[in-house]
């Protein structure tokens, strides 16, 4: 059965690794639903967060294939229960939408969104949350006209206690001198 999985991948910062990772998905014709990369808690080590909907045996294969690539330190897959995750969305709406009544203001309050910038022509609203939440605000704002919309990829941290540093130590221990 297919399910949504969040992959967390730790890499060295090497040009080309993103390509090496994505070809593992594309050669199987799998769609990457979201991808985010940034430096992790360890300087020089990067964290990739990838969301994909596949079977569990496929996600196991993917993780092993990814971890096998040179420059990849460790790869994991998680279900939604195992992670705390977040996305951010930005909405550009015409300023006049705010002028008529207080409906937009109410929406922004109820969604816990905030206003980043006010210009005579437009206002930029920011909302963080899960995809359903940012999507709900999108739907609610639609009637006022959305000039632009963008949503980030998912970022996620795991609930498990074992941190990547512990895995990296294990990796060091695993190998014999050749």
């Amino acid at each position: 059965m297919k399910k949504e999985y969040t992959l967390t991948i730790f890499t060295e910062n090497k040009i080309g690794l993103l390509h090496r990772i994505t070809v593992i998905f594309t050669r199987r014709k799998l769609n990457i639903e979201s991808l985010n990369t940034s430096e992790s808690e360890i300087r020089g080590i990067y964290r990739f967060t990838i969301v994909v909907t596949v079977t569990e045996s496929m996600v196991q294969t993917l993780v092993k294939q990814i971890e096998k690539q040179i420059g990849i330190l460790k790869a994991f897959y998680h279900t939604l229960e195992e992670i705390v995750y977040q996305e951010i969305a930005l909405y550009k709406v015409p300023t006049h939408a705010f002028a008529d009544g207080n409906e937009v203001e109410k929406l922004i309050r109820n969604h816990n969104a905030r206003i980043l910038r006010i210009e005579p022509e437009y206002i930029i609203v920011e909302k963080t949350g899960h995809k359903e939440e940012t999507q709900q605000l999108f739907r609610d704002l639609e009637q006022f006209g959305i000039l632009q919309f963008a949503r980030s990829g998912r970022i996620a941290l795991t609930k498990q206690i074992k941190e990547i540093t512990a895995y990296l130590k294990e990796l060091e221990m695993q190998q014999d001198e050749t």
């Binding site: 040179i70 190998q175 001198e177 050749t178």
Partner: protein, 577 residues
Amino acid sequence: MQTKTDARKAGKQETIERISGAEALMRALIIEGVDTIFGYIGGAIMPVYDALMNYEDKVRHVMVRHEQGAMHAAQAYARIKRRPGVVFTTSGPGATNTVTGLADAMLDSTPLVVITGQVGAAMLGTDAFQETDVVSVSMPLTKWNYQITCADEIPEVLAKAFFYANSGRPGPVVIDITKNAQFDEVDFDYKKISRVSSYVAKPRPDIADIDKAADLINAAKSPLVLVGQGVAISGAQEEFKTFVEKAGLPVASTLLGLSAFPSNHALFTGMLGMHGNYAPNINTNKCDVLIAIGMRFDDRVTGNLETYAKQAKIIHIEIDPSEVDKNVKTDVAIVSDAKQALELLTPKVKNNSHEDWLKSFAKLHEVEYEKVIRKDIHPTKGMMHMGEVINRVSEKTKGEALIVTDVGQHQMASARYYQFNKKDSLITSGGLGTMGFGIPAGMGAAIAKPDRPIFVFVGDGGFQMTVQELGTLAQYHLPVKIILLNNNYLGMVRQWQELFFDGRYASTELVNPDFLKIAEGFGVPGKQISDREALDSTLDELLNVEGPFLLEVKVQKMGNIFPMIPAGATVSDMRLE
């Protein structure tokens, strides 16, 4: 990286010299023990070739006729020497011509270091003359690749290239070097690499898994061992033999595992898979413990996975963790180099024999012999069969020659009917099935092992795909005996058309040239035979030929390779006719 000043402080400035990137590359290769390079010069690699001239006493450069030929030659060289084969090509078309060889080496775990020239760093991305994005093109076909844009990177990147290519599960590495990096100067300070912290070259097997495997093997009534190329790559042929002899385990081989265990050994039961032997395929679905060592359960071995060895406990010894549970779910997985695992496992298995179980293989083999083999190797009428030619070569060379094949029917016949009694004796394209592999691979084999008799079996289709390398064979007078088994068809595809496409022979009949004239034009002597009576004496002549030779044997046009497991069928449903 150590600078000149640091070195001077340390009082060893003599070890660090300032030289061009091209010169640094050559020195790096020499430090890595490279003695042979297969390549083809072109604009973007000229500085490297210029530096190569300074080292002609240490490194032999084999000038091929096409970059694909350099790749297959280097692959054969690497598989015989068990160290990276080295290829030089220029940018653009030179580099893209390596793609088939990279894919082949990737699937067959062959260590290569391929150096491609590239346009100057300032011109990258401008669609310059002969510019291709080689790093992107080769990304899914390499174990590692890297573009060097600055001469300073050369020593460290080359050291990594050699380490990655030949450690762990070996594979091809591409190093793309921009022209400016070849010209620019670098402080040459080279350190070989034997460890990279983020990369596990030699995973340490878990002793608990070894114990579990030993328990399963000791309790087994009808065990079967599958030997793959991993046993040869890790140099564990002796350890493997000790292991199976001690526990009395019947052995079946993958295509690339052939010659890791002697074909004439009492425990050898034949080849696995689509065109393998009857007994090991049938008994795969009868054994109670299946022990797979250094192999990856390729679909040509397993047939339908849903019905593959479901009754058996599976032990998988494999160095690449991503192969474990990929196709066949294991009961015990030992992630390890085959040699290391066998050294730990053998002391824990009991002295044993499985006589009745072994007899069941012999019985099945008799069935195969009567229905297939006898007709293949001792036909009495009609045109010659591929099997009979290969069988005669096997007998005349006592199973001790080095066999190189192309891809197709003759390849399967070679795997089936040559008796591989000596280790490292078969070079063939397994995973990728590359037609055109044979002649250039024979060239690489002859350079790696000039003292062994080398036979290339090739069909009339594959022969014409890399025929230009006859020129290289002639130029270097390489002792390669090519036996062209000519059936005037792309035989394997024709066989499938006969069996699965109602005999509609779309584009499989070949309009062939005069092969002897072609060989003669390249300076390779040859002979053609079509009579069975001439086979024996001609092979005797061939054995005594020095240098390259082409023997064209006209064989039956409609010959089929049996037994056969049709694609997607179950191993135990192998067809004998």
